[in-house]
């Protein structure tokens, strides 16, 4: 399925003195099977934007089209053909700290909540819970025992996976996640990234990930969209976007440490390819550079350090 916004604008408290333009004329299109990261400083409109992707928020002006169907047609365009409930099932939205929204007594009941609301027979509900747990990395033979536990007895990373399973049980085609790894420890973070990556690779889900964590985006998405003050200011392949750490920094964002390292070396004249995203890629590039005798551009020195990213 595709998500498209055309000149999407969202104003909070419109017409009042405190009106805030949270999203400002954003046009974008996300196609089936893509992995897209959305980044931008706090207050840049990321969370407001994604809540339009499944019709939770209504644009102040502009349009949102899901599979070409306008979610909020104007009167002259005729009646709405898109079914908002259906759209909300197709586009699963996972808010920050989704585990805070767990409330049932057991993991099973929590994941079953959505499917039961659809009025599905209990047998189908059970199947969906089992599949959803498998999708987030819980083996079938452990699903039953886990299902009986209280969600509140789980670790932070497990709780988050259960919360995601609850959305997956609605069978969405697209998963939109707001800061999915915030507050997780390194292992929980890696496991969740692996889970999300597998949802894309094995099950073909489209992923839209809002994140401050550049390492996560570098590992997970092929395309990055940058928002600043509600405007879409950059949209391109991940490698291209991270190619210019200095402009990211001006926006209050950082390139991943590895990208910053390659740029800092290049700024000192080292002849290295700066478009390296992972530690492994960077180490290979530096290894080759050392073996080649550490070639440097003539006349280069430490004056290039202006571009160095300091914590």
């Amino acid at each position: 399925m595709s998500i498209e916004t055309v000149d999407l604008t969202h104003v909070y408290m419109p017409g009042t003195e405190r009106a805030v333009v949270a999203v400002d004329r954003v046009s974008l299109r996300i196609d089936d099977g893509e992995t897209v990261g959305i980044m931008g400083p706090t207050g840049s409109g990321k969370s407001t934007l994604i809540q339009h992707f499944n019709g939770l928020l209504r644009p102040t002006s502009g349009r949102v089209l899901i599979d070409g169907e306008d979610l909020w047609p104007r009167e002259k365009d005729g009646p709405r053909t898109a079914d908002l409930h259906k759209v909300r099932r197709k586009v699963g939205l996972i808010f920050q700290f989704p585990e805070h929204q767990l409330f049932e007594e057991s993991v099973y009941d929590d994941i079953a909540f959505g499917p039961r609301n659809l009025g599905l027979p209990e047998e189908e509900v059970r199947r969906r819970v089992t599949v959803a747990l498998r999708m987030v990395g819980v083996p079938e033979d452990e699903a039953e025992a886990l299902g009986r536990r209280s969600p509140f007895s789980l670790s932070g990373g497990q709780m988050r996976r259960v919360a995601i399973a609850g959305v997956l049980a609605m069978r969405p085609a697209t998963l939109v996640l707001d800061e999915p790894t915030a507050g997780l420890d390194p292992r929980g973070r890696l496991e969740l990234l692996e889970t999300l990556s597998r949802l894309h690779r094995r099950w073909g889900l489209t992923l839209v990930v809002v994140s401050h964590n550049m390492e996560d985006l570098a590992a997970l998405v092929d395309r990055v969209i940058i928002l600043d003050q509600g405007r879409l200011i950059l949209d391109g392949p991940t490698r291209e976007v991270f190619r210019d750490p200095e402009s990211l920094r001006r926006l209050g964002l950082d390139a991943p440490p590895v990208v910053a390292l390659m740029h800092a070396l290049a700024a000192r004249g080292a002849q290295v390819d700066v478009s390296r995203l992972s530690p492994r890629e960077a180490a290979e590039e530096i290894d080759q550079w050392i073996r080649a005798g550490r070639p440097r551009r003539a006349g280069s020195g430490r004056e290039g350090d202006a571009g160095l990213v300091h914590v």
């Binding site: 507050g183 420890d185 401050h212 590895v258 910053a260 800092a264 960077a282 290894d287 550490r294």
Partner: protein, 279 residues
């Protein structure tokens, strides 16, 4: 006790729900000495007891075993709590639920007002605290219009207005964007270096821990490592084994070492790596 130990935990243990079916041991046998002026990072996987430890450092939680002293005062004695909480200030994770007033300077004044500090002294402390976190220009602003990093700096100023000897930051950067994180880290580093403030930084970010003078590692309630960052982050296998990691730069260092290029363990940060590779 040597006079320069500000905080001492001896055999510190904490069990939640002691005696009930849900009893959970959050800390066990933790011996830790934090000297005046140190910058200590505490890392550990989720559920390792980091926040529980933090809350013992200013008597928000009391030991169920062992003891904690702050400036020699035992936290189990309720008569000491005011003095201990003045000595050790806390900054928490969520920038949105730490600020109580509708104007920044009133929020910073909240602590000293509670202590019945005279008004002119409060004025002095508020101005000084806001200047220390570089937020003096926002004194009359409404906190809800500030960025996350600015809110956390106001929260730090609120703690500083109590004239603490130590600041404990319990994942205070976890909800911030990169600029906000940088603002908060620069602020606490400067307070540590220039003002001699003791800092205990609880964090999930290995990059942040690498900036400290000392790193303490917790795992399932036990203190399992305590050393300089270069010592701790040399133990990559151990850290990964308990669910932690190393800063990305250390990951690169390790791969380069495997490729046959030895790099000193003190190379933990981007700056150090660049200096080493390309002096």
């Amino acid at each position: 006790m040597p006079p320069d130990d500000l905080i001492v935990t001896s055999g510190l243990g904490h069990r939640y729900g002691a005696g009930t079916e849900q009893e959970v041991t959050a800390l066990e046998g933790v011996d830790l000495r934090i000297a005046q002026g140190e910058f200590v990072a505490v890392i550990g996987p989720n559920g390792s007891g980091k926040s529980t430890l933090a809350r013992h450092l200013n008597a928000l939680l009391l030991p169920t075993e062992g003891r904690v002293t702050v400036n020699g005062l035992d936290t189990r004695d309720p008569d000491h709590h005011w003095s201990i909480r003045q000595t050790v200030g806390m900054v928490f994770q969520n920038p949105d639920n730490q600020i109580v007033a509708t104007v920044v300077e009133e929020d910073v004044a909240f602590g000293p007002e509670n202590l019945a500090v005279p008004p002119e002294e409060i004025r002095r402390r508020v101005d000084e605290a806001l200047a220390l976190v570089r937020m003096q220009d926002y004194a009359r602003h409404a906190p809800h219009l500030l960025s996350g990093g600015q809110k956390q700096r106001v929260a730090i100023a609120g703690a500083l207005a109590m004239r603490p000897a130590c600041l404990v930051l319990d994942e205070a950067t976890a909800m911030l964007d990169p600029r906000g994180r940088r603002e908060v880290l620069q602020t606490v580093r400067r307070l540590n270096r220039d003002e001699g403030l003791t800092v205990v930084l609880i964090t999930h970010f290995m990059e942040e821990a690498a900036l400290a003078d000392r790193v303490v590692v917790l795992d399932r309630g036990h203190l399992v490592m305590d050393g300089r960052p270069e010592e701790v982050f040399s133990e990559v296998d151990f850290l990964e084994g308990i669910g932690l990691g190393v800063p990305q730069i250390v990951g690169v260092r390790r791969l380069l070492e495997e490729a046959g290029h030895p790099i000193p363990p003190s190379v933990l940060t981007l700056e150090a790596m660049v200096d080493f590779l390309c002096p």
